[in-house]
């Protein structure tokens, strides 16, 4: 579904990603794990067009993502839940969801998508008229995921969905990811929370200093010495 080939990217003279090869197949859940500053967020931003790579190619279902204007990439079926949620804090929950359905094809099915998201998150229905910035972190994360789902994506990019949340809420977020997967959506998830994310995804890549160190199925990674020593502390 999504294929990155030898992608280099950076900010100005700062190089963040080196020769990234990564693919996600339809129906899969794939994780990208690694320490702070490894380039995980940059990777997500490159896929959704917020920054453009200096080298390499990205294809989504056969379409060249790099030839697509940034605001049309969501139309290819890629929805990005950015790091720190990035809700519009002084818009209501419903207006935030409305923004997620901005593109014409989603706009036409706005009511239907809204029902879908409200079914998934009944809490959002209760709070639809509340300003997004006044909700708790977990609720804001639900709203951010709901906003991304409004565009009826084929691929959901989740950037650190557990960041800044209480352990109980982190658990809920991962349960939610499982439910979204069960609905048939393809998921690419970036996480520092290695142990928990490996229980949700089928495969994962370990990103360190802008390069992919190792990749493999969740079971393989859980068993690998590199991961066990550096990330699981066993």
């Amino acid at each position: 579904m999504l294929e990155l080939k030898s992608v280099d990217a950076g900010y100005g003279s700062f190089h963040a990603l080196f020769g990234i090869n990564l693919d996600v197949k339809a129906g899969e859940a794939v994780g990208v794990i690694g320490p702070n500053g490894a380039g995980k967020t940059t990777l997500m931003r490159v896929i959704s067009g917020l920054i453009r790579p200096t080298k390499g190619s990205i294809a989504m279902l056969g379409t060249d993502v790099l030839a697509t204007p940034a605001h049309k990439i969501v139309g290819l079926g890629i929805a990005h839940v950015p790091e720190n949620r990035r809700l519009f804090p002084r818009l209501t929950v419903e207006d935030n969801l409305k923004m997620g359905a901005y593109m014409p094809s989603a706009r036409a099915r706005y009511a239907e998508r809204l029902d879908f998201v409200f079914d998934l998150f009944p809490r959002m229905k209760e709070r639809r008229h509340q300003l997004a910035g006044t909700m708790s972190g977990g609720e804001q994360q639900m709203c951010a995921i709901g906003r991304a789902l409004m565009s009826d994506p084929k691929l959901l990019l989740l950037d650190e969905p557990s960041a800044g949340l209480a352990p109980v809420v982190v658990q809920q977020v991962f349960e939610l990811v499982k439910r979204i997967r069960a609905g048939g959506l393809t998921v690419l998830i970036v996480e520092q929370n290695v142990k928990q994310v490996l229980q949700v995804v089928d495969r994962a890549y370990l990103l360190e200093a802008g390069t992919i160190r190792i990749s493999g199925s969740s079971a393989e990674l859980l068993a690998s010495d590199t991961i066990r020593q550096a990330y699981l502390g066993v």
Partner: protein, 293 residues
Amino acid sequence: MGSFLEIFDIYLLEAILNGVLLGGLLALLALGLNLIFGVIDVTWICYAELVMIGMYGMYYFVQYYDLSYYVAAPLAILLVAALGALLHILVIAPLLSSPPINQLLATGGVLFVLQSFATVAFGIDFRNLGIRLPILTLGDMHLSYSRLLAFGAALVGMIVVYLFMTRTFTGTAIRAIAQDRQIMALMGVDAKKIYVVTSALGGALAGLAACLLVLQYDVHPFVGLSFGPITFLICVLGGLGNFVGGFVAAFLFAEIISLGGLFSDLEWGYVLAFAFFIVMMFVRPAGLLARRS
């Protein structure tokens, strides 16, 4: 003594009502400027000059092309809306990431360009539509129809903008982009397009104000100076970019001008309003309804 009080109260009521009528018009002017500042984060120093061009548009549509007022008004609104969009595309967009001072200087430059253009193209004569609306007499009070019309139209204009901003996808995107410019692409929003739409909307508000002002004031190349500064003060008093604050500040200013003018000359009303502004800048420097951060 009793009869004096009676007359005095009528004048007071008349002044209050006139203040409300003026407030509606000032609120409309402030809304356009606030919209541009709140969404695009630039200040159109030449905002009042866009209104001036709109007033000339009305003058030529009505006096030269013999159009009726109600046909000319939508044309003038469209004209200034197009001018607003053009201002953004030609002047603001290339400077979006420049320091604010450069943006101020550039739109300040446009102010002089428009004034000089008007002087050369239209001359320095005072012009008017030749329409004199009657005065409405309510008991002992005298209210001009042109002010009532201006107030009503300003109110309708603001309600239309409110509905547009809250009910439509584009309006919601305009409010969203003011809060987080960077992630708009993730929503499928072309930020450049939203900025042009916002600029056209700001221009349309200036155009509507022009249609209403031209009923009360003669137009000349420097007419912008008579309401430009006060529009800026209102926006700053309400908190730049704060729509509700601007609305409240407009009525506050208008009442001070109107009531101050009642107790002495109209000029003193302006002096009082500006003095009030200076004091408020010390008391609430971020504006009347500043958000606590």
